[in-house]
Amino acid sequence: MNLLHPGARVIDAATGETLTASMVDAAAEELGPGGAVFLPFSTTISDIARYLAALLVGRPVVLLDPDGDNTHWAERFATDDVHPDLALLLTTSGSTGNPKLVRLSAGAVLANARQIADVLDITADDVAITTLPLFYSYGMSVLNSHLLRGATVILERTGIMQRDFWTAAVEHNVTSMAFVPYQYEMLRRLRFDPAKYPALRKLTQAGGRLRAELVTDFADRMATVGGSLYVMYGQTEAAPRMATLPPARLAEKLGSVGLALPGGRFAIAPDGEVVYHGPNVMMGYADTAADLAKGDEMDGVLRTGDLGRLDDEGFLFITGRIKRMGKVFGVRINLDDVEKNFPVTAVAGDDKLTVFALGATDDEARDLRTKISEWLGTHFSGVVVRSIESLPLLPTGKVDYRALEASL
């Protein structure tokens, strides 16, 4: 698979270094044939060359956090026997137990890059800037969809809380920025004004639910410069995007995550679960090295684990989760696993984890917060510990999670 349109440019904002086709070729030469490539994916020209090279020569590439301890991945999935359709392997986010890999075919990756480029109307004139790690499915999809259309991607590593990022956005006439909910909270704190970045026209949002107030706020801010906010919905298992809310319908469909991408469709199962059908659905998970040889087990159908409803025009509204999942700063976590590892009752808030600890003192609560956030590998401000005298119970004797959520 060649994702790199001949007109696409990748520029490192700090060094000025530019990606060339010969760099990709050289990286491909170096890789040669073999099994999976384990790529701790930093936001650098050389890592992008390696990523594109692996896709080009058809070696499945595992995208890893460059700051993580990655030796166990290479050990667990060491094999030369890989399925010919397999192109990309992404970790399921979260720190729980034994994380799996999501197996994506070249066809699914390419299909999703096209779908995204279509709905966001990405052209060769677009300039994106890195705002998210590239090993994270959202960051990766920004890269893929822009490279495919011959657009420009600016590599920036400091992020939105630093001067260098905003200087690069102006200097390179950035047209598009992608953020997850907590970054929108930060942008509000920074009194983000799109008029300061004359070329900026598109903000995209994924990685969990953004509260309606911020959706309206940022749509309004972008409207003042003739730009738009695109609310999107996806999962790593869908390579990753499934839906986008057309900006023209945003006000009227507030709270919706939008319409299925072109070529995809949603159905609601009898139990209320959102089921996605589309060309971008994964081949399946991988738990062991032997799984990398497996073919497609999904047949283009993904049970999302989310509960939702479709309105008469096909706009999807997510109403809850079947699995007890939460998100902290965009990272998916299994609430049951939190409860297995700590003496707490866990519920999900907007991009935060709240745990209730019976009769905890202030010191115990602080200690729990540190331990849980370390276990999750997240900043401690994403975890809230509340002391509670007794848990609300359902008539069945089970914990009444809805009551706990309502108390947040």
Partner: protein
């Protein structure tokens, strides 16, 4: 506690560092705990501690402990100029 000590404490609290951790030479992103999330928390902690409202430009310029000292000076927080003091 002096203003300088209060600022050091604010850094340790926001970056979740031990009570005796040296902070005077800290730079954004060179300590793994000082990422964009911690930065938000740091700004909020400094604002609370010194009862100031930090401007957007200063939020994104605050890239080191030394820079925090300089910025707080602008907001009228005195007694921060001596960086050589030990606790």
């Amino acid at each position: 506690m002096t203003e300088l000590q209060r600022l050091r404490e604010a850094f340790r609290a926001a970056l979740d560092l031990p009570a005796d951790a040296p902070v005077d030479d800290l730079q954004y992103q060179d300590n793994e705990k000082w990422d964009s999330l911690a930065h938000m928390s740091l700004i909020a902690t400094i604002e609370d501690e010194f009862s100031v409202m930090i401007d957007t430009d200063d939020v994104i310029n605050l890239s080191s402990f030394a820079e925090a000292v300089r910025i707080l000076g602008k907001y009228g927080v005195a007694n921060l100029e001596r960086l050589d003091g030990n606790e």
